[in-house]
Amino acid sequence: MATDQPAIPLDTLTQSTRGTSAATVAAPDSAPKRRVRPADIGWYVALSLLSLIVLFPIYMLILRALSNPLAYVAQGQPLYPVDVEWDVFIKAFTEADLGRAMGLSLLVTTIIVAVQLLTAVLAAYAFAFLDFPGKTAVFILVIGTLLLPIEVTLIGNLETIRGLGWLNSLQGLTVPFLATAFGIFLIRQGFAAVPRDLLDASQLDGYGHGRFLFRVAIPVTKPIIGSFVVIAFLGGWNQYVWPRFATDQSGWQTVQVALRSIGSDRVDRLNIGFAAAILAALPLLALLIFFQRQMIRGLTAGAVKGCRCSLCSSSSNGR
């Protein structure tokens, strides 16, 4: 991975999406509105068919959550809901303990995101604005962690956590993730866009590094920091393997791990598990709707231009 690339021109991507309301990475809509042409009908048909394929699995989940499980099977598994039970979403909280699981997930994710941001901003600042002996060595050490995702280090880390007595604890769920190479590189690239003359000028004015960081570097990098926060939240909320093995008491299950009981549930209770899965996805759906621009910028960081290291790939979707 190249370390001396100029800042990613993420802004180009931002600009194209800015001002579009519900847009994803939208096509430029500077073009005047056109009438629908006959040839477009074919595209609408194709796009609708593709949408049906993408959405069908989600439709089935909603359908199965709403239907009484036994009645649904007795009806021969139709494509419409059977004996709709709306209170299934309440039962997910009262019977499946979803409230506790979601609360824990929210707490764990918030801690991870907040501290990751802190450690990443500090480290990125050092790489972008400070000269010190061993800079290259430290940089290589950070890059090296890309080859050590939690799946690789799982066994070793579990023994560490066990030794510390951190199984089934907030520390156990969060501390291994409090630093991220992805965040460091992303934010460093943002900082790289800040002219170094600005640092020199601010130092002439008597600013220290701390004030420069908070008054200049962070404000200028806000869009990238925003993207990082959204992506880090996505990754933290979606984590499965680590919380699955760092806990063995149901009271310490995060919401993703709690969904696991679906496989062992009685058939007449399956709808509660399906409803829980829908509820578990809602926070991310909100994230996708309200922070779409940040999410897309974060997900495409490195893909279209700029850093394309496997770190960006493995960290950006937290599995």
Binding site: L122, E151, A277
Partner: protein, 277 residues
């Protein structure tokens, strides 16, 4: 000064990235005592070698490759298909773009529950569809892999669409004037220009195949037999059938694979892939 800025991150990396790597080598080269109160004994790298040539490793590796073969090409093709379809000026196109990116909001656990409703042998909607059957080794792996393909659709779509939007319109217009057909334009101009994004996605999908776990635990529990036990599944070992020494040795194998993927990606990036500039 720099020390204070770097210390927090470096400390976490040292304890939770590098120290565990050392532990993996330690466990892989020591024989574990039967009882926890006895000391482990050094037996050397022969034990690691035995693990990496054992059936545990080869079959886990085979299943992980199988998973890759099912997820990577299909995921790329579907992502490109969706992105090409949605990359046009059309009233309401944003609705379709939002739909296509929607699976970004699903975690691997949620996606696994979603596919549980489709392929579970007792209550799944497609339980009688033979090529998605969880009771046959081949189709079970395919069904599990399809979960991943679907879950990654949103991500692949978003990335390919962003890449398509970065292709300058003038290029396609010039080619059209030169008499290039739509197919020719796609393969001669679009594909080369978006190839960095495609390589990035290929790596994302390969890595996500190496890291697949929840979909297997939710849908098949590794079965039938060990047909869907990937390398990571054998490392995580939810049924607790392997010792620390074996699981650590397998982890070192996974580490080596991760390093190989990174090396291949790096060498492709520095040569073959076309840069848009």
């Amino acid at each position: 000064m720099a020390l204070a800025f770097l210390a927090p991150a470096v400390l976490i990396f040292a304890v939770f990235s590098y120290y565990p790597l050392y532990r993996l080598f330690w466990y892989a080269t020591h024989r574990q005592p039967r009882f926890r109160n006895k000391e482990a004994t050094w037996v050397g790298f022969g034990q690691l070698w035995d693990t990496l040539t054992s059936r545990d490793f080869t079959s886990g590796l085979l299943h992980s490759f199988q998973f890759m073969v099912y997820t990577v090409p299909l995921g790329l093709i579907l992502g490109v298909l969706l992105a090409v379809a949605a990359h046009r000026r059309l009233a309401g196109i944003k609705i379709f773009q939002t739909i296509f990116s929607s699976t970004v909001a699903t975690s691997v656990a949620v996606a696994s529950v979603v596919f549980f409703t489709l392929v579970n042998p007792e209550v799944g909607y497609f339980k009688d569809v033979s090529w998605l059957s969880l009771s046959n080794p081949q189709s079970a792996m395919f069904a599990v892999a399809l979960t991943t393909v679907w879950q990654n659709l949103g991500l692949t779509f978003i990335i390919v669409l962003a890449a398509l939007q970065a292709v300058p319109d003038e290029m396609n217009e010039a080619a059209t004037l030169d008499g290039f057909s739509a197919t020719k334009r796609f393969f001669r101009i679009t594909v080369p220009l978006i190839s960095p994004a495609l390589l990035f996605l290929a790596v994302v999908l390969v890595v996500s195949a190496l890291q697949a776990y929840a979909q297997i635990e939710f849908l098949t529990g590794g079965g039938p037999g060990d047909a869907t036990e990937t390398l990571l599944y054998k490392i995580a070992d939810p049924k607790g059938v392997r010792g620390l020494d074996v699981r650590s040795g397998l982890s070192i194998g996974l580490f080596a694979l991760t390093a190989i993927v990174a090396a291949v990606q790096y060498s492709l990036l520095s040569k073959r892939v076309h840069y848009g500039d």
